[in-house]
Amino acid sequence: MAVQSKNNAEFKKGAWRFFLISTGFVVVLMGISLVFHSTLNFRLGRYEDALFLGLTWGVFSVSQWRLLTLSQKTVKLLPEEQVDANNAKLRYIFNRISTYVQDNLAFDNKSNVDFSAATDKHTVALSKAIGALNNQIMHLIATLNQHNDDAEFHLFDDLAAQTAQAITQYLTLSADIENALREHITQIATSLDDLKSKFNALNVNQLDTLAQVDNTQNLREIEDIVYLHLSIDNAIDEQLKVISYDTHQSALLLLDLMRHLSDDAESIVKYISNANEKNISKMESDMENSVKFIISIEKFIQNIQEIPDKLRADIDSIQAASGVIDSLAHLVDSIKEISFQTDILAVNAAIQAAHAGEAGLGFKIVADEVRKLAVNSNNAAEMIESGLEKARHTIQDGLKFKFLDEIMLQMNGASQVMIYVQQLQDSQEDMQQYYKTLFAVINQNNTKLAHDISEVLGNIQYEDVVRQRVERIQEVMVMRNDLLRQFAAQLTSDGSAEDIITQLNNTLNGYLSRESHHNNSLQAKDDEDALPKFELF
């Protein structure tokens, strides 16, 4: 009996060894594959993927080593019947580990491949769409600068339509890429959760009993690390929610203010166009007719040799006044440009408000555009200012019809001429009144536009607050990833990860504490314990 059991034991030992070596081979191959993928993901900056694969590999290595040592210990320490039972259990555990690793590896491969393909395709298309949109805007502005005849304003319509198309394309692609990103992040979160629950499912106590050796330490450490990793993720997620809320609210407010600005700019464009079209040509032609008639009857009137020259001088000043009108048309273009740019900005703000998930980045783009707009608007406002000055001087200098009083004194009999002279005087008064009114209205609306722009600029400060919040998130992520890297490296050696766990804990607590110092989200309005926003010492 004893010999038979001894032979059995020997045979079983050999079989077990053979089993271990052959599967160990497979395991090593899988381990290498895991390491490769982990490094690849790490290089690509996909820290969560790297961690997941690193942990899987770590579990693998640990279980592999444990199994080897266990098998030896088992054969030495325990009676034969128990050896069989325990071997069966070990085989079961080993199979479970290899199965879920296989599952997750295949899963991860697939999701990585899909996501890379999707983001590549989308990124290329997206940057093309943004490029097309920018080109449209540049083209439009160039066209406005070159063509300022009324006849050519139809070009404006075509370009506006094309630009609207480009905007729609950008909107669609932007939505696609955000969806793909969300999906991928959800998958990673799910697989991490999965890993954690599988850890829990593993019956750690079985190994305990088998080896009578405390070998739970490494697995518990892995659990701690995963837990802290997820806690930091939660803390970051909280701040991302704040960023999302602040960006969303501010973008909506900005959108409102820019629509207001756009409306005001549009109304002044309409006003100047109407004023231009209807009135000036009629007044001009009236005055020209009067002057021409007066000149044509000069030969029938005595003592008026001087008058033709003066009348000719007045025709010159009428033409100068027409030049002023042309320059006003340029000013219309500037204001049209502002109007169009604020429309683009309003659309952008709407895009950002709808896609507020891109923590702060999109908001920065809006803030940049607002800054550019402010500069352009100021330039246009200055142009208007100097244009008005010039116009005012031309008219004041030009339309001095004082000599008309002289004519009226001399024209006793020529009542017909008197009528035309009276008409001329009336027209001149009309024109002066016209310009006076025009300037008064434009000046007042300039002030309104400046005030509108100021309102917009006063509300982009959230870009800075959000940017700082994002920077603090990046900071804590770098610290965490560094510690995880250390942990992954340390998995192969026999040391304890206690130190890393402590540092990770400190990282989490440090981050939470720092965030409590910057409590200036739009959501935090109702906090009564908060310190006042303005304090004089």
Binding site: Y271, N274, A275, K278, N279, D430, K436, T437, A440, Q444
Partner: protein, 123 residues
């Protein structure tokens, strides 16, 4: 029903508007030009101002700008289109840009005047 200040340099039109408004039961004060109009505003404290645009001694545009600066919500109706009506439309556009709440082009009927006053005062 309301205290209305009317500013217009044309005597005929002043008389016409006064007849229309008193018939509707409003209390009316008349002024001949912009300066008189502004003085009248400070003394009379009207609920509504009806002002012409082209007048001597401070035109309607100046009156509107001055009064709206100190009283931004003051209801003002601008009228235009008397002699030299070329720029009537432009004048009314300008008055609207400056913030008047109602406009009326001459010549107008009693009903048109009533409608504009109703709309402006939100009656």
């Amino acid at each position: 029903m309301a205290k209305i200040l009317v500013i217009d340099d044309e005597e005929q039109l002043r008389d016409l508007i006064k007849k229309m408004l008193t018939r509707d039961g409003h209390q009316v004060l008349m002024a001949q030009d912009g300066e008189e109009g502004v003085r009248g505003f400070h003394q009379f404290n009207p609920d509504l101002i009806i002002t012409d645009i082209i007048m001597p001694n401070k035109d309607g545009i100046e009156v509107i700008m001055e009064l709206l600066k100190s009283h931004p919500d003051l209801p003002i109706i601008a009228i235009s289109g008397g002699r030299r009506a070329i720029t009537a439309g432009f004048n009314l556009d300008s008055a609207e840009m400056l913030g008047v709440k109602g406009i009326l082009q001459k010549p107008f009927t009693h009903q048109q005047l009533q409608e504009v006053i109703q709309k402006t005062l939100g009656l």
